[in-house]
């Protein structure tokens, strides 16, 4: 079972290099992450973006990109489309976002899934490494579905459970987060939690456990509990997977790592490979760790496709 980023980094060295398409590497932090990932043997990059910007940034971080495959293109949607095509045609195993808004990438992946007739919906899984917790925790969907309905959430849970199985977690626990509380009336997200529980019971998600708890308060205190002291909080109560009710919530929660001593890795599992989704505000070490995570997951994904 892969528990920490140290585990991931060790494995990425063994399992790399993987061919990775980088979309718009025209930010020094991104280029530096590519440089470090290449030096560490994780990846063999294919750089796609504006030639002038790419070369300037490579110079700035003292990275000789002359011997890598490069595709010069300025239009962002075309860049995203090229990356997705390479992923779906098996030319690269991983695609990574650079300094490009994610909407271009999602659009291109959705289009490729549709062309491939996979019927697969995509979602973003944001893994957290929390130092006091000797395993990963994930928020999902943190990037694609604005207001997912129950059907969309089924696909989101499947991908997350699939990812945890790949990482060696035999029975990940899932909490379907909801704003259901003592006031406010019925909640769609709570209704979805109940429906997802029945799907899990039928075995559609594979081995996993959907918890009764639908809020962090429920998770840490139980439904009738009260917080007497912060020293009573046991971080080990966090389930492996936190399914968020909507995009705003997911994105806000997963990026609170800015307040915390945690490291985040965000990725998309497409039917043909992985897409690394760092934030455009992340720094090189964090981006490099996210690349390493994708290398390890990509290696385990060979031949296995999430339902």
């Amino acid at each position: 079972m892969i528990r920490t980023l140290d585990d991931v980094i060790k494995l990425a060295k063994e399992e790399g290099p993987k061919k990775l398409a980088v979309l718009v590497p025209d930010d020094p932090e991104f280029m530096l992450a590519i440089k470090k990932s290449w030096q560490n043997g994780y990846i063999e990059p294919v750089l796609i973006g504006d030639r002038g910007k790419m070369e300037r940034v490579a110079d700035k971080v003292e990275f000789d990109i002359s011997h890598f495959e490069k595709i010069f293109e300025e239009d962002r949607q075309t860049i995203a489309n090229l990356g997705a095509k390479m992923l779906f045609e098996g030319e690269v195993e991983i695609e990574s976002k650079g300094q490009i808004p994610t909407s271009y990438i999602y659009r291109s992946i959705i289009r490729e899934e549709s062309k491939a007739g996979s019927g697969k919906k995509i979602s973003v899984i944001s893994l957290w490494e929390i130092p006091e917790l000797d395993r990963f925790v994930a928020f999902t969907d943190t990037g694609v579905n604005i207001a997912p309905d129950y059907q969309a959430k089924v696909g989101v849970v499947k991908d997350a459970v699939f990812l945890f199985h790949l990482l060696g977690y035999s029975r990940p626990s899932v909490s379907v987060l909801s704003s259901r509380r003592e006031i406010g009336g019925p909640s769609d997200s709570y209704r979805d939690a109940q429906l997802l529980k029945s799907v899990a019971a039928s075995g559609d998600f594979g081995e996993c456990e959907i918890l009764e708890a639908t809020s962090l308060s429920d998770i840490f205190l139980g439904q009738e509990g009260r917080l007497s002291s912060y020293s009573d909080i046991n971080i080990k109560n966090l389930p492996e997977i936190l399914l968020v009710p909507n995009l705003d919530t997911g994105n806000i929660l997963c990026k609170t790592d800015f307040f915390l001593n945690v490291t985040r890795c965000s990725l998309v599992i497409s039917s043909k490979g992985l897409v690394n989704i760092p934030s455009r505000a992340d720094f090189s070490d964090s981006i490099m760790e996210q690349i390493a995570m994708c290398v390890v997951v990509a290696d385990r994904m060979k031949g296995e496709i999430s339902g």
Partner: protein
């Protein structure tokens, strides 16, 4: 300006004791909080509920030897309405929720005729001591409103600004949060955030700066914002995080409590007089801050 919970308590101690009405008074844990508030010289308690039960609860506590009042109303629903009337008639200053279902209590507060509404909307502010920032920060609405409209978000902002002003934050900076920092017609929260931001630019909230939409990394980090091309006095210096909806507000507050372990006190705003809700995820240590905050709000309402 109060920079932390200790300073809120110190400020409250300068105001003299306020009359705190607990309704219904029927559980020990409330008595413990009120004992602390009495010892801190910020309140004189009035207990509304079953008189015999209250006498029993007070026996042996520090309250029993000091000033207090018991209003004997055994029925818990009547106890709440009696307490609300007392506040309305100025026979009490602060209403504290006792052991009573939240929906019943909030409905009673929000009753347009008999409740304690200040305007037309109450909202909940989660007030945090943030270790990364040597001052207080708020998340709102984190409990009351489900999916507020733009007009309701405007009121939620006004409520939070009133609280900020009471805390001595004169020009509050507000991050209208959304999933992304760009305005995207497909993501309604980004539209609301952009409009609120524009309204603040036109000084429709007074001396307040709202920036939005902001994703949380831009809100928290000036450097992250710069890398995404967002230039604002708000980034990296947020006093109030405006949640796009209850799903985000409720979860974010709890994440700060349970995962970040940031001390939190809750404040109900939009009431004519201060009201303290009984939130399960506010730790016992921080309940005293809620009482102190209510004392500070006494001159301004909630």
């Amino acid at each position: 300006m109060a920079l932390n919970f200790a300073e809120i308590l110190t400020d409250a101690q300068k105001r003299g004791r306020k009359r705190l009405v607990l309704a219904p008074a029927r559980e020990e844990r409330f008595i413990e909080v009120i004992s602390e508030a009495v010892i801190a010289s910020i309140v004189t308690p009035i207990f509304v509920g079953d008189g015999k039960v209250i006498e029993k609860l007070l026996k042996g506590t520090s309250i029993s030897s000091g000033n207090y009042e018991i209003i004997d109303v055994p029925d818990y629903q009547k106890a709440v309405s009696t307490a609300i009337n007392m506040i309305k008639e100025n026979r009490g200053d602060i209403l504290m929720q006792g052991a009573v279902p939240h929906q019943f209590f909030v409905d009673a507060i929000q009753d347009r005729e008999n409740g304690l509404l200040r305007g037309s909307l109450t909202s909940f502010v989660s007030l945090f001591e943030m270790p990364q920032r040597d001052r207080l920060a708020m998340v709102t609405d984190s409990y009351v409103n489900n999916f507020p409209t733009l007009a309701e978000k405007k009121m939620i902002v006004e409520n939070a600004v009133r609280l900020a002003n009471v805390l001595g934050i004169r020009s509050p900076k507000i991050a209208a949060l959304a999933a992304i920092e760009q305005v995207n017609p497909a993501i309604p929260s980004t539209l609301d955030a952009a409009v609120l931001s524009k309204m603040s630019g036109r000084k429709q909230f007074g001396d307040v700066t709202i920036e939005g939409p902001l994703d949380i990394d831009c809100a928290v980090s000036e450097m992250a914002a710069a890398r995404k091309g967002v230039d604002s006095v708000v980034t990296g210096n947020v006093d109030i995080y405006l949640a796009p909806d209850i799903e985000a507000g409720y979860s974010l507050s709890q994440l700060f409590v349970f995962v970040s372990r940031m001390p939190m006190a809750g404040v109900l705003m939009g009431t004519s007089r201060p009201v303290i809700l009984d939130m399960p995820f506010v730790s016992t240590d921080n309940k005293l801050t809620e009482v102190a905050m209510a004392v500070l709000l006494c001159d301004r309402g909630g």
